[in-house]
């Protein structure tokens, strides 16, 4: 039996990405130097490891041999390797290096390797679920908390897309790799060269991030956001456009003023939009964005969820929450409704208040929104808009062909007919997604009987859905002000896999576990 996959080539390419990971690590390194509050050793060690391990892996094989099979392995491997290397700073900060450097965060919950891996995978996959016990500078250094934000920004547009944009050796196979990283429908080349397309996507992404940082910092300077200093502005810029959801503030966006919350809503909405369309809109073709079927559907869903939540919050019972009265307050109800709708639908996972305290109906609306997801080609996760749209349209067709069995009716998206293989793929994806959700729920429900707290059905289901869909917070214990920390190590590792599989849209990872992939 011979392997039909040149795994050495894939590993070599993963090595290149790992090696280059040392460059973004310079950012928290610089921050640690500036604040001088420890953590410097963590980044120095990690950069050294990334360079050594990356270079060693690069010698394993020849990058020229990357085909479509090697592409799947490379993409899945890259995300796993990045998470393993990315967890190192947390571990070093918690344990120190015997004889060389003392631990800078001895009280950190990330001393547990399972927790460190969970936090990093949650970062790169832009999930935003956290196992950090005490989110404050008392326990963690500025550098470590910024690295946590930066993992989300790197993972948002995609590590592989970034690699294609900057590594010349990926100019040929790059399209395949990008497809494997974001296999959803709607991926389009914006320019004849794939590297230029990748650069365009990253440019739009970085540009909007910078704009948001300026805006947030401007509010601070203008006196509208006392605690939104430069550090916080950058930290939140990193995790908004990535639909990430991490925040160095323990109370997430609740910690900021209403103005800040309003400003973040449109950025979350933009982050859930197809970046190819944003790029076209920025280069003058507004019709491409506003005429797009998926965008219209997306805007409609966010609008509907906002309206529903606003109504429920406005009319709803008085909540025992720190933000003060919500029911009966029009602006407050609308603000929190719009914020949570955009946050959960786009899979960002920020919270402007503790929505785990909401009334049951409002919670269920939000729970279902966890499954919706952003647009194809956005940084959002979950099932994604375009798939739901296609499913709705093909169900309508099913009803029609029941009456007219001979009717031939293509599923159309904005005038374009989808081929049937694509529609089948969307059903397959959604079925597998639901199956993973079901298995995950059963596993977590059984496994969580080992912990002290008893989890309710919605807590278990929301935790699984929020990790699989890269959303982040769920309800109850795992709510926006809560933590995944009390869960068992086994559950956390299963969730690491769910986040990994969910970010790569399931199929490219699952294909690695089939016999036909490896053989013939």
């Amino acid at each position: 039996m011979s392997l039909r996959v040149d795994w050495r080539a894939s590993a070599a390419l993963v090595g290149t990405v790992v090696k280059w990971l040392s460059v973004p690590l310079l950012v928290p390194l610089g921050v640690s130097l500036y604040y001088g509050d420890g953590g410097l050793a963590a980044f120095v060690v990690t950069i050294a490891v990334a360079l050594v391990v990356g270079s060693a892996m690069e010698r394993l094989g020849d990058v020229e041999n990357i085909g479509s099979r090697e592409g799947f392995l490379m993409v899945a491997g890259t995300w796993l390797a990045a998470s393993l290397v990315g967890a190192l700073p947390y571990l070093v900060a918690a344990h120190g290096i015997p004889g060389v450097a003392a631990a800078s965060a001895p009280a950190s919950t990330l001393a547990n390797p399972a927790n460190a891996l969970f936090e990093t995978m949650s970062g790169f996959t832009t999930t935003g679920a956290t196992v950090l016990g005490d989110i404050s500078f008392d326990t963690h250094s500025h550098g470590i908390l910024l690295w946590r934000q930066l993992t989300q920004w790197l993972g948002g547009m995609g590590i592989v897309v970034l690699a294609v944009a900057i590594l010349p050796e990926l100019s040929v196979g790059g399209a395949q790799l990008m497809d494997a990283e974001a296999p959803g429908p709607g991926i389009q080349k914006l320019t004849p060269r794939i590297a230029e397309t990748a650069r365009a996507l990253w440019l739009a992404y970085a540009g909007i991030t910078a704009f948001e940082v300026l805006l947030l910092y401007g509010l601070h300077i203008g006196g509208y956001a006392p605690n939104m200093g430069l550090y916080n502005a950058v930290a939140h810029g990193f995790t908004t456009m990535a639909t990430g959801g991490f925040s160095p503030e323990a109370r997430s966006i609740e910690a900021f003023t209403g103005v800040v919350q309003w400003v973040i809503v449109p950025f979350m909405f933009a982050a859930g939009t197809n970046f190819a369309l944003i790029w076209q809109a920025l280069t003058g073709d507004l019709d491409a964005l506003f005429g797009d079927a998926e965008f219209k559907f997306y805007a409609g869903v966010v609008g509907t969820v906002t309206a529903l939540l606003a109504g429920l919050l406005f009319a709803g019972p008085t909540l025992e929450v720190v933000v003060g009265p919500v029911a009966g307050e029009a602006e407050v109800s609308l603000r929190h409704a719009a914020f949570q709708a955009a946050s959960i639908v786009t899979t960002t996972g920020y919270a402007s208040m503790d929505f785990a305290q909401w009334s049951e109906p409002a919670k269920y609306v939000l729970f279902l929104a966890i499954f919706v997801g952003g647009s194809a080609g956005s940084t959002g996760g979950a099932v994604k808009m375009v798939r739901w749209l296609v499913i709705i349209k093909s169900l309508k067709r099913e009803l029609f062909t029941t009456v007219h069995p001979e009717a031939v009716r293509p599923v159309r998206l904005g005038g374009r007919a989808l081929d049937e293989a694509g529609v089948r793929g969307i059903y397959a994806f959604t079925a597998v997604y639901v199956a993973l959700f079901a298995f995950g729920t059963v596993f977590v429900a059984i496994d969580s009987s080992r912990i002290e707290e008893t989890l309710s059905a919605i807590e278990v289901m929301s935790a699984v859905a929020a990790t699989l869909g890269n959303v982040g917070p769920g309800f109850g214990m795992v709510g926006p002000m809560g933590s995944y920390l009390p869960l068992t190590n086994a559950t956390k590792l299963v969730m690491v896999v769910l986040m990994w599989v969910g970010r790569l849209e399931v199929i490219p990872v699952l294909v690695l576990f089939t016999r036909s992939y490896w053989q013939g």
Binding site: H404, E406, V408, R409, P410, A417
Partner: protein, 447 residues
């Protein structure tokens, strides 16, 4: 005028036939026997050879030709012929194509492919069908004067209130002129006089503004088929069928297309969003009943082969469809189709020949419709000061014209003038006239 026709197929032969008596016609074809047989039938010069070969074109006298008509079976060859002709001659080039994308290019860029006038067979046939669909009981409809005037040919049903009346009795509409009657069982139009009796089963040819033509159509069919066709079923997804459905969709209708080949059905479903495509054999009566084809206002049969189109049209009529229009590839079957019960048979080649004839007529003829099988034509002519009608009443002018002509309508600028005996025709007017074949040469030179 010297006309060079390349391609002696159905269209080429038909055009040659209608032009040969008044023009010098040269026909080029690769098939020597075709050229020979055409030479025996018609008074033309035949040249055997490839029309894309400059030496052959020279032999056929391309330099002296005023018009070159490229109507071989292959559309790319036709375009190549025109481009070749343009390298040595200033002749007006006309080409026939099947694909609408060539037509789109040509319409967007004047002189593309070296073609001065491009006709698209399938599109012309589809346009004709759609006009007929739009007018209940109409047999043929042709627009004139940018659509401000219509010439329509109607069947007179047995139970029509008009049946048995004289033309004078039936002519109750101001903006409508009866120009001819085609008596039952014949195909020869006769000029309609006031005392001509309209027999049931005959056809009448009228010219007027579209709204009046529509009102007349209603009066003709006893008011029970007042409504315009809404439910149209196109059986057979040939190119003509597809274009017909597309044009009907442009008019706000949602036609159904029946196509047996699943792949072609899929293609149609993608290409014609306004239509519902059913993938099944359109000649299966059980299926037609299940899909309520009996309730259809019009069924268009366009299956690509005449036998199947005929079968489908007759079956649709049999299950109860109101009207059936069939596309007939063979011109000689047109009469047969209509004799056995198909309401209207449309022959794409005839329609193409008609369209091409329009450009090869005497200089001032702007638009032409052929009535019956060439027994008469309707012309649109702009009047200049040399015309016998210029500045005179129709009564006076008609005295100098042969008897086989009727002025059906006059447009003056944007205005429509209903022609009566005392109407004065001015220079610049557009006159739509019905002309019998034997009077054609004389009329075109005098108008």
């Amino acid at each position: 005028m010297r006309v060079l026709i390349v391609g002696a197929g159905e269209v080429g032969s038909s055009i040659a036939g209608s032009l040969a008596d008044s023009h010098e016609v040269v026909v080029v074809d690769r098939d020597g026997s075709r050229v020979e047989s055409l030479q025996y039938d018609q008074d033309i010069l035949g040249v055997t050879g490839d029309g894309t070969d400059l030496a052959v074109l020279d032999e056929a006298g391309v330099e002296a030709a005023d018009v070159v008509i490229a109507v071989t079976d292959d559309e790319e060859t036709n375009l190549t012929i025109c481009a070749t002709v343009k390298t040595t001659s200033d002749a007006f080039t006309i080409a026939r194509v099947e694909q609408t994308n060539y037509l789109d290019t040509w319409q967007a860029h004047e002189g593309a492919f070296g073609v001065d006038f491009l006709v698209c067979t399938d599109l012309l046939a589809a346009e004709t069908i759609v006009r007929i669909v739009g007018l209940p009981t109409a047999h043929d409809v042709n627009p004139f004067a940018d659509g401000r005037v219509e010439m329509a040919e109607f069947d007179v049903p047995e139970d029509s209130p008009v049946a048995g009346q004289t033309v004078a009795e039936a002519d109750r509409f101001d903006d409508l002129t009866f120009v001819a009657v085609i008596p039952t069982g014949t195909d020869t139009p006769e000029i309609a006089g006031g005392d001509t009796v309209i027999e049931p089963g005959a056809r009448v040819v009228v010219v007027g503004v579209p709204s009046t033509v529509r009102a007349f159509a209603r009066a003709l069919c006893n008011g029970d088929r007042l409504n315009e066709a809404e439910d149209v079923v196109v059986i057979g997804g040939s190119k003509t069928g597809e274009l017909t459905a597309e044009l009907l969709g442009d008019r706000g209708l949602s036609p159904r297309i029946v196509e047996v080949d699943p792949e072609r059905a899929r293609e149609l479903a993608e290409g014609v969003p306004s239509a519902t495509v059913l993938s099944h054999d359109g000649t299966d009566p059980e299926f037609l009943t299940r899909e309520h084809v009996q309730d259809a206002d019009v069924v268009v049969a366009s299956l690509g082969t005449d036998e199947r189109s005929l079968l489908a049209a007759l079956l649709a009529k049999r299950v109860g469809a109101e009207r059936a229009i069939a596309v007939v590839e063979q011109p000689r079957y047109v009469e047969l189709f209509e004799a056995v019960g198909v309401d209207v048979a449309v022959n794409p080649r005839e329609v193409t020949a008609e369209e091409i004839t329009r450009f090869t007529r005497e200089r001032r003829a702007e638009n032409v419709a052929i009535i019956g099988s060439g027994g008469a034509e309707v012309l649109e002519v702009e009047i200049d000061d040399e015309s016998v009608l210029a500045g005179r009443t129709i009564q006076d002018g008609a005295a100098d014209l042969p008897s086989g002509v009727v002025v059906g309508a006059i447009t003056r600028g944007d205005e429509l003038v209903t022609p009566r005996g005392d109407t004065v025709v001015e220079v610049g007017d557009h006159v739509v006239a019905f002309v019998q074949a034997d009077a054609m040469t004389e009329v075109t030179s005098k108008l």
